[in-house]
Amino acid sequence: MIRFENVGLRYGVGREVLRDVSFEIAPNSFQFLSGPSGAGKTSLLQLMFLSLKPNRGLIRVFGKDTARLDSEELAELRRNIGFVFQEFRLLNHLTTFENVALPLRVQGLSEQDYRTDVKELLNWVGLGHRMHVYPPVMSGGEKQRAAIARALISRPKLLLADEPTGNVDPILARRLLRLFIELHRSGTSIVIATHDTGLMDQIQARRIVLNDGALFIYD
């Protein structure tokens, strides 16, 4: 699904934040990406999400070499990847419904086509009653669930989540984790970046650990 071969990344002329990173994300797999703050977790997720380009190495996403893709092909690939941001990144001028429906709208579907699906998903994440409110009046937990719903609505093959439980209380964190597990059972590969060991200890899953730019895998 995703394959990294000797990938290196540096910002500007500084030292490499990721060095010789090689790993694979298999279809229908579940893994945590962990490591201390500043270890390069977010950079690695952004490389997987094609929003950053590596300085060296090969990245293949869904069998395609990402270095050879133009912007429209990258957009097409991104439609198969859901991304949950730590800071939610919901658009404040759109309602919850509109935020969640955005990936489908971008694909050219009309409101009539996606209305039922979006409503069902919002009910599923417990935001059925909040679908017409705007993000500024939502709580952190609600925003997080809306962000997750937005990442899921187009039924991606891969879900990347950057500290999805960083802004929520432990009870909600556990519920969100169960939501990701359910999603994994339905066939989606999951990568959750977190430094919350308590969260990782709750389930047995593959761990990809980043430390000082180098990568270690614990299956």
Binding site: F49, E72, L94, E120, M131, R175, E182, D201, Q202, I203
Partner: protein, 344 residues
């Protein structure tokens, strides 16, 4: 407690799907849905989704105003060009259908016989419909505005004029006619006004060229304004653009969103400018027709013929408004695509 990923006994709800009854929705998330009444707000039903690029992030009013001013100036230029080109057509047609034979008085030669001879030669030429000699008094009358009434014209050797009416300017061989007149009629000179036609034509062409240059400059200024406005709108919508990229939008989709906004702004501005310009033409014509006898109107009429804005000017202005709106949309599209392609 550690849960195994394949433990199916974990109480989680299945992902929603189109055929899944809503009653199956469960406890994966806080229980708020269970206690809250179903939303009475028919939110999405029949309601158009909100705009992806929010309204307030584009300096819309300023842009509409600038485009309106530019459209107004462009419309005035187009009207001036159509007026000059139609006046030039009239001049050329009028002057082309006339010519004059001038016969100087030469001592010892009877001018009247020369006039008759010249008329005969002219009438015999192809393409000339009529040849009429101006009488002595008519020739003198032409000089009165310059020489005054006090002068005794009879004592002056005023040349006599023969006016030629040309039915088909293309078929008249002016060189042959001039050669024949000079050899057969003493003191005859043929003036076919070509010199004046050329000068008028070159003057009109210069005026039209200046008009088009102004039009091009106005359009260039409009394009530059739209580029700046688009870049500023993009800067104000950085987060929206980033999120659109994250949810799988290509550059073309994002460009289309901005393009749509700017087309509407461009259309509003150009329609406003165009309508005000048309109103100005209309008022100008009304004022000029009321002051037909005034000195200013007479002078303008002398220069441009009848001051009249043809339907052409109105149609050109109408087309121009749409051209400016389309130009705005295209400029925005290209600016967005170019700016976004630099990011990748």
């Amino acid at each position: 407690m550690t849960t195994h990923l394949d433990n199916r006994n974990e109480t989680t709800a299945p992902l929603p799907s189109a055929n899944m009854p809503s009653s199956h929705q469960s406890d994966t998330v806080p229980d708020t849905t269970q206690t809250q009444p179903k939303s009475s707000n028919p939110f999405a039903i029949g309601k158009k989704p909100g705009p992806i690029v929010p309204k307030g992030t584009i300096a819309g009013h300023a842009l509409v105003l600038v485009i309106a001013i530019m459209s107004f100036l462009a419309a005035l230029t187009v009207a001036a060009v159509t007026m000059i080109s139609s006046a030039t057509r009239d001049w050329q047609s009028d002057i082309g259908r006339g010519a004059t034979i001038q016969i100087r008085q030469i001592d010892g030669i009877d001018i009247e016989s020369q006039i008759v001879k010249a008329i005969d030669i002219a009438r015999a030429s192809k393409g000339i419909e009529k040849a009429t000699a101006l009488s002595q008094s008519q020739s003198s009358a032409l000089l009165e505005p310059w020489l005054g009434l006090d002068l005794a014209f009879d004592e002056l050797p005023i040349p006599r004029l023969i006016e030629l009416d040309i039915s088909d300017p293309e078929s008249v061989d002016f060189i042959a006619l001039s050669t024949r007149l000079q050899s057969e009629v003493k003191g005859a000179i043929l003036d076919n006004h070509r010199f004046w036609v050329e000068r008028l034509r070159s003057m009109a062409e210069t005026a039209i060229l200046i008009g088009f240059t102004i039009l091009c400059l106005v359009l260039a200024a409009t394009i530059l304004t739209v580029i700046f406005a688009t870049r500023s709108a993009m800067a104000g919508n950085q987060e929206t653009i980033a999120v659109l990229h994250f949810v799988g939008a290509g550059n073309r989709f994002i460009a289309a969103e901005f393009q749509q906004k700017f087309f509407i702004l461009g259309l509003k501005g150009s329609l406003a400018g165009g309508l005000i310009a048309m109103l100005t033409f209309f008022i100008m014509q009304l004022v000029l027709s009321n002051e037909a006898a005034s000195a200013a109107a007479d002078q303008m009429q002398a220069l441009l013929g009848v001051i009249k804005l043809d339907m052409e000017a109105y149609i050109a202005t109408f087309i121009l408004t749409f051209i400016i709106a389309i130009l705005t949309a295209i400029t925005t599209r290209l600016t967005v695509i170019k700016t976004l392609s630099k990011l990748h």
